[in-house]
Symmetry: C2
Amino acid sequence: MATSDVSIAKELRAALDGPWREVREEARAAIDDDRLYGDPSLDIKAARARVLEQMHLVASYGWVERGFRHVDGRPADPGAAVTALEMLAYNDLSLWVKSGVQWGLFGGAVENLGTDRHRGYIDELASLRLLGCFAMTETGHGSDVANLETTATYDPATQEFVVHSPTPSSRKDYIGGAAEHARMAAVFAQLITGGEGRGVHCFLVPIRDEAGSDLPGVTISDCGLKGGLPGVDNGRILFDQVRIPRENLLNRYADVAPDGTYSSEIENPSRRFFTTLGTLVRGRVSVGGAAAAAARVALSIAVRYAEQRRQFSDPDTGEETLLLDYRSHQRRLLPLVARSYALAFAQNELVRRMHLVQTGQDTDPRAQRALENRAAGLKVAQTRHATGAIQECREACGGAGYLTENRLVTLKADTDVFTTFEGDNVVLTQLVAKDLLTAYAEEVRDLDALGWVRFAATTARDVVRERSGVRQMIQRLRDRGDETVDEGDLSRRSVQLQLFADREDYMVRTAAHRLRARAKETGPFEAFNNAQDHILAAGTAHIERMVLEAFIDGIADIADPEARALANTVCDLYVYWTIEQNQAWFIMHRFMSVERAKAVRRGVNELVDRLRPQALTLIEGLGVPEGMLRAAMLD
Amino acid sequence: MATSDVSIAKELRAALDGPWREVREEARAAIDDDRLYGDPSLDIKAARARVLEQMHLVASYGWVERGFRHVDGRPADPGAAVTALEMLAYNDLSLWVKSGVQWGLFGGAVENLGTDRHRGYIDELASLRLLGCFAMTETGHGSDVANLETTATYDPATQEFVVHSPTPSSRKDYIGGAAEHARMAAVFAQLITGGEGRGVHCFLVPIRDEAGSDLPGVTISDCGLKGGLPGVDNGRILFDQVRIPRENLLNRYADVAPDGTYSSEIENPSRRFFTTLGTLVRGRVSVGGAAAAAARVALSIAVRYAEQRRQFSDPDTGEETLLLDYRSHQRRLLPLVARSYALAFAQNELVRRMHLVQTGQDTDPRAQRALENRAAGLKVAQTRHATGAIQECREACGGAGYLTENRLVTLKADTDVFTTFEGDNVVLTQLVAKDLLTAYAEEVRDLDALGWVRFAATTARDVVRERSGVRQMIQRLRDRGDETVDEGDLSRRSVQLQLFADREDYMVRTAAHRLRARAKETGPFEAFNNAQDHILAAGTAHIERMVLEAFIDGIADIADPEARALANTVCDLYVYWTIEQNQAWFIMHRFMSVERAKAVRRGVNELVDRLRPQALTLIEGLGVPEGMLRAAMLD
């Protein structure tokens, strides 16, 4: 059996651990604990109880507090908080989701949308004395949050808001924590005062009493069994004229005076809405991180299995062949390992930027919006990767892969909804593309879901805005490269990055052109709809370029030459494989000759061949401790 | 909301119902029964008990007996038996698998490998008085059945076989029915007599007494929870010198005389082995059929949901837009519907051929082998389609798709192992390619798993054997076509089929060439391994050509002109989409210009656009009764 190169693996792991590597190391020591794993034999009642118990253990680690400003004024450390909690995805995704709901979503709403008058809740929720949930999605509206139907109508007579579900489709749905444990909900509802609608705001609404019974006017039901995540108690909430104090409006960005006068420092209602949502970016960042972690666990299991499982004799030697010695198996797993590396670096960069914005260290006014765009794109890339990679790992382990004791099916079932929650991947890809197509124009932010199409279709702008970043990077890579090498040599990083950037630019330009050309004939919706696959492809191309940049930056930080060389080969595989998957586009749009496309295909084969002896080193570099894999077949 | 055209849907349904449409109609009436659905809230103990109870209900329908020769000599009706049981996949896949194990695999082994002395078991197992299992796979060997390790050593002193598991890896594993219910196992083991190994044979081995306890020498354990199929009791069996009577050898193709003399009408041991396995083809046929059925259920649910769910306002009208009116949603679902049509026709053709071979109506000596090849290829196509389509349906239904009450996650979890069992899809695709690469040479059949590579690499043959069938079909289509139309017009069926056939031929020829060129340098295994992705692609191209032929044949049988026209549009979508997915290959190998490839992409968009108003008609044509969908969100 092959062995790993321990020192190289250690260097790679340190690189992938990123800016908060001490936090990760500390977490690894804490979470390698039997009590933190799920027990698939439990029914949902018992599974939910177990997760709640595990959360108390997690609360004792001191990680949670890092996510909140201290009472004494010390700032929060969001990068550390997100990183530490992400590590729980190595244990059990129900635990990770439920923790994310309590501390990330519910806690995040109080922290970021509340003001001093709500500070008292932070201690309560951090320590789990107050269990909460995040009641945004409704049965009728998930992606289209601006059109939620729940109302919160101010009554100046009693200085209360009346929270109400006016229609069956306004029922809050899929709400994690609602079915059993939450006592309070952060409810997103249309604020109405003085007879005027003011758009979606967030309110703290008590939903259960100390004994766990629904409070008057509140009707909670259980979503029951799901595809996975049995330890998360998803539920539905209906409000029938539920009265809450005026102070329960989370009033960071808008407030209602006792007499019902509405005020906000943000004039434009749409901008106010997006500012509100923008503060919740941590949720998307976290989902991407957890998806990435789950994919790393699955790949670690499948590659290790392929290093021990043999099938069919090699007629030349008479010995049975290891699965990982088959080309088809290398091609199944190693490019996915390469993409896990790429995405890990991209995730680190995302968390770093989030931390800078949220701690006020990055004060560029465009930074928040760029962060949201990056978080949306990477959430898509990570969850799509996890869904595909875990599926491939299951199949690559055959019948053994189907047994729960080998974990892959649980990883698959638990992560399956990640492509949906915190923003459906199709909708998020469109969001990314929208910013590209409208050149990040300020006014677009304030338009409704498809209003941007009208803008994009009627306003002539240079949609490929100046990308000083990518240009500088390409120049830097060129300067560093060997000048005697052919300018078009695809093994050069600058050429690779240029190709990714060119593809993105071309797609964005032509999509914008198409929108404009068609909008006159058909109206914006038809124009948008006819170009939708094109628009989505532009969004995806943008995400892939962004990930490659992060990979290149990440490699530059690796000091050890051997580890850096290996990471460079992994990066080549990521690039070649991504090109191979899109080679039809590159050829059809004359960015690549047929001969070069064939060379790319051969290149993938050569690269998996070259990386195959290092497979275990790469897996150890992914940073999931072997003892935490807990797949019976690896014992 | 759109409506369906009832009369067209009825015509399409009749066409897809195929040669045994009366059997399907009869089954539809029987199985729309609450008692036949799974209950996801049950633990595995209760789920297993429920399935066993359901099987007694199924046994009362009289379908099972059709799979066996009658005592009075009337022949079996395998086409009807396979078709009727397939319909249970609309209800619950645990029920379908467990039924398949009992009647298809265990019963099939007794029926096809046994002789008159085993006839008494048939009645017992058909009526469920005898519960059995099919113990082929071992922990160490699944795909490589020829190298199973379990031994059955003949002892002339007592006229018994001694069944034994000599190593930990020889343990029978994943055996459906073994963990709780089976009293007897059809055990595949290396027959040893007179000190000589005779290869893998099948033996009937009692494993449990009436009280359900392991018999002496038999140690059974439970595989426990799996990704899905909770109602199937998969288990592991270890044999410690278990003695069974000589008569328990299923002796259709080989026998051992009381004194230990071995005899067989098939001289060549390898050919004997393949003849044995070949009789079990019904298993692969059935898995493909059930996968197809599950995909039809999922697509029926997702398309109906997309016809009622709205999200985001159309800025032109102010109304919220149906999901199915989005181009991206049409592109997600409608090509999958088209492929379900294609595969349904191909499955009908497969079952028809199986029926002819197994009832002795097709006596062409090549028919059995062609049937096995077709069954392997279609099993791959159907299970790959089901895995992808059900996943897409889940995601296309968002959060609602993740709730068990909407069935998609259960369909996903239950079918996930279909790509693995009855032959791993990668191994089966290789099997298909192997026959193509060696031009179905008789001698190849007798070579071990990779021995064929040496053959293919060293023997010069015209690997693209005469395909009179496809040539005739292309000519017939041409004759029927409008002669004024451009010969290269891709909307013509003959041009489409030619393109699929050309791709297959080219891939097969070049793969063979590559094997030959490389084998001299590297030896057969390396040559095979370096070409493995190419070989697999050739197998896939063959399968796609075969499916298209069946689709064309199936359409020709539709009498109603409107239904036929619609089916033709669906066929176009299947063709265009398949080409689009492979367009890089077509361009790179000069089978298609860049301009034509772009036209294909536009063609897919135009076709989904044209089919969109007929979506419900197409779904009803798929033949899953609306009342059987049982997805809460459609209520």
